[in-house]
Each structure stands twice: as C-alpha cells, then as structure tokens.
Symmetry: C2
Subunit: 338 residues, 2 copies
C-alpha cells in the first residue's frame, strides 16, 4: 500500500471560494453580523473535482491513499478574527469529510485548525475534537505563523501551544507544521514562506525541550523539511555547539519529514542524511508546482518516481510508503481496514 | 590561489563590543546626544585576534585570502536609528580596513552598510563609497531585513532599493545578501533567519525583473543559497508555472551561491544542481558552527575538505576557488596584485 501523507483539496468546486469571498466581503462592514451563507456543492461536483485531478494522479502514479486536508494556502488565518477562522475551518473540514466519505479508500482526512493571530491556541481544540471524533480525521495542520508572514506568535516550543499538544497527545494525532499564504509581500507563499516555516520550526525544536514534556507528540515537517536536510551538518553542528543532545536523541523520535522535494538529487540527499524512519512519502499534489519538468518529461511533483529510482531495500520502501505513516498517524489503521 | 568569499571578523577584540554596549546604553536616554566614544584597539590586539583564529585556519586549511567583513550578527540594523547605524557601521568598517592593511595578502574588505528599518536605502551610499574608494573594499553586505526578523522592508526587487544598486553598478561591486541577528524570538539567527533570508531573496529574484534593469548587478546568496539547491526542482517548476524564463536566463548571470554548507552530501548536491560558474568557495569561518564533526574528525565549517573530496576537473576547481570570485568581485584583482 502506498500512502501519500501530504495532499490538499486545491481543486475544490468554486462554490467554496465564492463562500470565502462573501465571508471576507462581509468583514468590511463590522456593524453587520458575520456572513452566514451556505455552501451548495453536490456530491457529483465533488466527484468531478477529484476524478480529473487527485484520483487520476493516484491511478497514474500508482499511489493508493492520500492523507487529505483543506487547501493550505487558503487557510489564511490572518483574515478576519476568531469567528471568521472558526467558520471557515468548519466549512473546509466538512468538505474534506465529504470527500473522505465519498472515497473512503482514497482519502483520509486531516483538519485545518481555526487559528487566529493573537488568539490563544486552546481555541482550536473544539474543532480538532470534532474532526477526529466525529469525522475520523487522523491529524491536523498546525500553522506556526497565523499572522501570515509577520511571525507574531511564540515559537512552537513555548507553553503557549501546550493546550493543543495535550489534546493531540490525548487523541493520538500528529500535526503537520504548515503555514498558509503570506500577507507579507516579501514572502512568496510556496517558494519562500512555506520553506522558511519548515526550517524555522526545526530550529525551534533544536532550541527547545518540547519532547521532554511531550514524549509522544509528533510533527511532520513538510516540503522535505525546508532547508534542513541540505544543511544537516549545520544543524548537527549547531546542536553540538549549543550543548544539545544529538538530533537523533533530541527530536528524531518526534519529528518527521515528507518527500515533497521536486527533483531526484534533492530526494537522494534527503534519503542519505535523514534516517529512513523519519521520512514519509508525500507529493503535495495537486499543489505548489503543477508543471512537467522538460528535463525528465515527468511531473515535478511526482515524487514517487524519484523514490522509485533509488536502490531502496524492501524494508525501507515499506517504511517510506506505508509503515512510517502508520506509525506517525496511528488512527489511519482503522480507516484503512474499512 | 584559494579565495574564501565569506568570512566575518567574529573574533574582534572585546573593545569593539564594549563600544557597542556603550552606544546601545546611551540610546536609553534620548535626551542625551548619541554616544561619541573612541575604540582603543592596538595593532597588536588585532594581530592577536586573528593569529590564533582566521590566520591559523587559513594556514591549516590551505586557503590564501578571505573576503572579510564585519560580524554579520552584530550589524543589528534594528537597534537605534540611522545615526546609531551610521556610527556603528563606520567603526566596524574602519576596523576591517585596519585588518586588511595589516594583512593585505590575507584579507580583502567588504563593508557593512548603515541600514536602518524604515530609512531609505540611499542613506547607505556615502559609507559604501567611502569603503570602496578610500579603503579599497570590493563589495558590501546588504541586509534584506533591517528590522531583524520582522521583515518590514520591501522585496529586494522593488525600486526602493534601486539607488543602492545604481551605486553598486557604478562602483562595480557585488553585494552578499546577508541578514543580521533576529530580534524576533521565533527565528534563531544562524539556524533559521540566515537561511530563510537566503531562500526568500532567491524567490524574490524569480518573481521580479531586477536584472532587466540592472544587467550587471551581482548578488552572492550565502549559506549555499539557503534551501534553494535542495529545492532546485521546486524553483525551476515555480518559475515555469509563473511563465518566467528559466533560472539560467532569468538570474544566473547575476546570482551566485557560496559553499557554506557543512557536510559532504550537501556540497555534493550543490555542485550537482547549480552550475559551477555560480558557486564561490566560502566557509563563513570563524562563524556559525565552530565544532568538530565527530563523524569525520574535521571542523564542520572546513568546507574546502568537502570540495577536495569531489572529483572536480582542474577547470572547475579554478572557477570555484578563484575564477568566479575574480569575476563576481572584479576589484579583487587590484588587491591581489599588491
């Protein structure tokens, strides 16, 4: 079985964006109550939005199931306030639940959290519980920068975040560390902000002692871990200079990387420096890069092709494509046995 | 000849930091005039600060000359105001000039610029001219985020920065894109902020059309280009999706990477994906990582060792260690012939 740990519903019917546009438009007049429209999307529309995209790519690329969450760039936690974010998250998560119900063999849900800049993270717990307990979602996406490129929230290792971590541990679900779009014009979303957030989170985990307090807490750092594997020597050396334990001891029981790295030399490096137990197959499709690489004739984001080109043992292949995902997202077992 | 394009005076005598501390202390009482002390450092102190550090490492590692600038993390453009930054930059650059005068065969100067958040970049031109014309410096360090982790300045491709670029072109000096310390606690300086800035700058160059306006403008992105080489496929694919020219056409005549990547697999990747014409040997010594890698028994930042381990042609070795530096920093020729 091949589990893709990183897919977003980037192809949702346009009614979803229409709803969001109306919600945002309503924010302009604070004297009015929050937007309270309905999203009318039929099952057929959902099927259509997936058949020519994610499902087609699953078939073509030979993957089985995608751990699926709302479009990351559209979370935009910086827009509006906690009410805005709560409503938008519910709508997006409801839609993911419908996707997973229509295609229970192809998609397993992960939720967007209703974060908001300056709002205490415990505010997200209700929605996390709803998605896990009512929908059977198996994880969440946690945004380390709800401000969208202004980086006003405390580091992920601060006690500020602990209520969320307590709930994650209780529910036994991991979080993918995933920012959203940037409202700071210096940061391109998928080309800078995403990658910077990955790098930043890893360094925070080196500096902090989070996993002493939460030995079973698990994070997936997407996009191959940002800059981290390329600078693995730098991070090993910084940890050493700072008298931290080795990366293996300090955080590699808790921190995992996906394989959203869009060329063979990058994937080779990832597998060379990061222990295979810490890498989960992921493609981010349909996502950041949609084109075909003229050098290979293949989609940039067909990361399975790069992995297939490596001389991996059967045991390592199993870990990458299935075993690690089962370990990091234990609730997936129940979904896959259906 | 082996030219290390990236070295900072991280071992300056403590009188420099004492001066800075007094300067910062004076800021607390705005009713008083700016601090106007003197830095008393003897030539012998300067010699001592270098003999056991940079000069020793040059000898041990077999490098000849270091392109040398003030300590990057101490630039701290976010502290005080334009007057603070102007004075601090002058002091730091003066000291680099003394280093280069004492050891003209070992060090060639690059200046810190007196940037300040919210202050127009043309403000730095006087100091740039002074350092190039009076001291014979061959380049500058340009901070894309003088706010120190709040990212309040426009992207490097914006017209905001053009006055500096016009002067750089006129003087025929490149800039290393180099942030300083972060006053935003989420960003570790050398483990997150530096690397993020490198990644961010490269993506800005993809989005913009800067090099149409300045065909001879040159930037060095340090730390191996941040996350960029690891995600080379992502950047090629993003450029393609955005209908930009290829990276080669769009920016590789103007943008260069150093080799401050502290493990062999990282250096291998860098050389595999980035054209050799775009890579300059650099070590950042004495800098971000000071320890010895227990796996190799060698200093993490002895990047020459990683390059020496690669099967490079003589032509490529020449480019990496000397030729590219001569091309990117043309004013170095005059200094080296002395």
């Amino acid at each position: 079985m091949i589990i893709d740990c990183h897919g977003h519903y980037t192809t949702a019917p346009k009614e979803l964006q229409d709803y969001r546009d109306a919600q945002i438009a309503a924010l302009k007049d604070p004297s009015k109550p929050p937007y309270n429209g309905k999203i009318e999307i039929s099952d057929d529309q959902i099927r259509e939005s997936l058949e020519g995209a994610q499902l087609k790519l699953q078939r073509e690329r030979g993957t089985d199931v995608t751990i699926f969450s709302p479009r990351a760039s559209a979370m935009a936690h910086h827009i509006g306030n906690a009410t805005t974010s709560a409503d938008w998250s519910r709508q997006c998560n409801d839609l993911i639940h419908r996707v997973c119900s229509l295609y229970p063999k192809n998609f397993v849900g992960v939720c967007q959290l209703p974060q908001s800049p300056g709002v205490a993270p415990q505010n997200v717990i209700g929605e996390l519980e709803r998605c896990v307990n009512e929908f059977g979602f198996i994880g969440c996406n946690l945004n380390p920068d709800p401000s969208g490129g202004h980086w006003t929230a405390p580091a992920l290792t601060e006690k500020y975040w602990y209520p969320v971590y307590e709930k994650m541990v209780e529910l036994d679900v991991p979080a993918m560390v995933h920012v959203s779009s940037s409202c700071n014009p210096v940061f391109h979303a998928t080309g800078a902000h995403y990658i910077n957030a990955d790098t930043t989170a890893f360094m925070q985990f080196i500096q902090g002692d989070l996993f002493k307090d939460f030995p079973t807490l698990r994070f997936i750092i997407p996009h191959g871990g940002g800059a981290v594997p390329f600078h693995w020597g730098r991070y090993r050396g910084l940890a050493q200079d700072m008298k931290r334990p080795t990366l293996e001891e300090h955080l590699l029981k808790n921190v995992f990387f996906d394989t959203c790295v869009y060329h063979l030399p990058g994937i080779e490096l990832l597998l060379k420096v990061v222990p295979v137990d810490n890498i989960l197959f992921g493609s981010e499709m349909v996502g950041a890069v949609r084109g075909i690489d003229p050098r290979t004739g293949q989609y940039y984001d067909d990361t399975k092709k790069y992995l297939d080109a490596l001389p991996l043992s059967e045991g390592d292949r199993y870990k990458l494509f299935e075993g690690n995902a089962r370990r990091v997202y234990p609730r997936i077992a129940k979904k896959l046995s259906k």
